[in-house]
């Protein structure tokens, strides 16, 4: 094959690519408004009926401002399902979720917590023995009353790292030696996994609310009672500033059913919790 033939072949390929590219670009550009309108309609279906029509009208009216900006329209359209989910959540509507996803999430919670407990069983035993030997008259687990799913009262377990308190007016407390070691190794919350196995907690979810903490049960927090509280939570991480997401996003992620214990989300949440704990942000 001569170099001339190769050059002609390359040129032909380039021309074909340019023609197809231009045709496709025109086709895509032309269909973006329809695509964005379809996205807006689909997003509005997630909203409660009192909000759906108003938001659909708003979004379609604003699409008009993007008529000559196809890429911005695409970006705008992509965010609408998320916007609808968040608005529905803020308005107190339950988001649609399949039973299969709920079952998959529970299966994930049980299998991961069982696996971690089995793997850390020797450590668990040593910690329990050390606590018992250190203070014979105290229980191994501390159970604090929290609000579970549907407002049920649950006893969230953690190791009973007894604190020695001194003083009368200003009480100063510090953990015992074993307690301090457990706290330093982030093992105090390990018995939370028992709550996960019992179905009282999820691995990831909204923070468990204190019983009678009326100030916490504001409108935005009521949704938290619809799902199992989490052993770790994005909300706590967002408050601690350990993750860069808004508090609304964090709460939406914690409260979303059938999604929150996704493996990647769980690993990311655990990693962020570990980072926050190391930085002493108390997440």
């Amino acid at each position: 094959m001569t170099p001339a033939l190769i050059a002609i072949g390359v040129l032909l390929c380039w021309v074909v690519k340019q023609v197809i590219g231009t045709l496709l670009a025109q086709q895509v550009k032309g269909s973006i408004p329809d695509y964005a309108a379809a996205k807006a309609k689909a997003a509005a279906r997630v909203l409660p009926s009192v909000l759906a029509d108003a938001y659909l009208e708003d979004w379609l009216a604003e699409l008009d401002a993007l008529a000559d900006k196809p890429l911005s329209a695409l970006r705008f359209a992509h965010g609408l399902p998320r916007a609808a989910c968040r608005i529905a959540w803020l308005a107190g509507a339950a988001l649609p979720v399949s039973r299969l996803r709920l079952a998959a999430e529970r299966f994930f919670d049980i299998s991961v917590s069982a696996l971690i407990l089995a793997f850390l069983a020797p450590l668990f035993g040593v910690a329990a023995l050390a606590l018992r030997l250190e203070r014979k008259n105290t229980p191994i687990f501390f159970r604090s009353a929290r609000l579970g799913r549907g407002g049920a009262i649950i006893g969230v377990r953690k190791f009973y790292t007894t604190r020695l308190c001194e003083g009368t007016l200003h009480i100063q407390c510090r953990p015992t030696r074993v307690g301090a070691v457990l706290e330093r190794c982030f093992l105090v919350q390990l018995p939370n996994l028992i709550n996960v196995l019992r179905g009282e907690l999820a691995l990831v979810g909204p923070p468990a609310m204190r019983v009678g903490a009326a100030d916490e049960i504001t409108q935005g927090r009521l949704h938290a009672l619809e799902v199992r509280p989490g052993m770790v939570s994005w909300e706590a991480l967002a408050i601690a500033g350990a993750v860069t997401m808004t508090l609304e996003d964090a709460r939406l992620r914690d409260g979303s059913r059938g999604l929150k214990s996704d493996a990647a989300l769980f690993v990311a949440c655990m990693a962020a919790t570990g980072r926050a704990a190391r930085l002493g942000r108390g997440a």
Binding site: A54, Y55, E57, D58, L60, A61, E62, D64, A65, L66, S72, R75, F76, A77, H78, G79, L80, P81, R82, A83, R86, I87, L90, A91, T138, P139, F142, R143, S144, A145, G155, Y160, T162, R163, C165, I171, C173, R174, R210, V211, G212, T218, G220, I239, T246, L247, E248, D249, G282
Partner: protein, 111 residues
């Protein structure tokens, strides 16, 4: 007042505060604050529910203008005062964070 003033919320409010008497539509605010639509619209919804914003439907004749009527947002008195305060706090030097007090020992299930 919003439960927690996040940076994106403050960014959006600062734009509204730039001209408190002006009315803005959602897309305009979204682009100026450089927020995705998935964040901007819920934020506007929440701020309106908190009484920081008020929204009205644009008063135009769609046939004359050749486009549909948009929803317009502007700051309320409460929102304007709150935003000024939040912007002031954000510019103030940071205060040391106090660690939460430790729990006292309890036996069994406790509140």
């Amino acid at each position: 007042m919003p439960e927690r003033m996040t940076k994106p919320t403050l960014r959006l409010l600062a734009i509204l505060l730039g001209d408190p008497s002006r009315e803005w539509y959602g897309l305009e605010l979204m682009e100026l604050a450089d927020l995705p639509s998935g964040t901007a619209y819920p934020m506007l919804h929440r701020l309106e529910a908190d009484g920081w914003l008020i929204s009205t439907r644009e008063e135009i004749d769609p046939t004359n203008e050749g486009r549909p009527r948009r929803r317009l947002y502007r700051l309320t008195g409460l929102g304007e005062a709150g935003t000024r305060r939040a912007v002031g706090e954000r510019n103030a030097p940071p205060t040391p964070v106090r660690r939460p007090t430790l729990e006292l020992p309890h036996r069994g299930v406790t509140a």
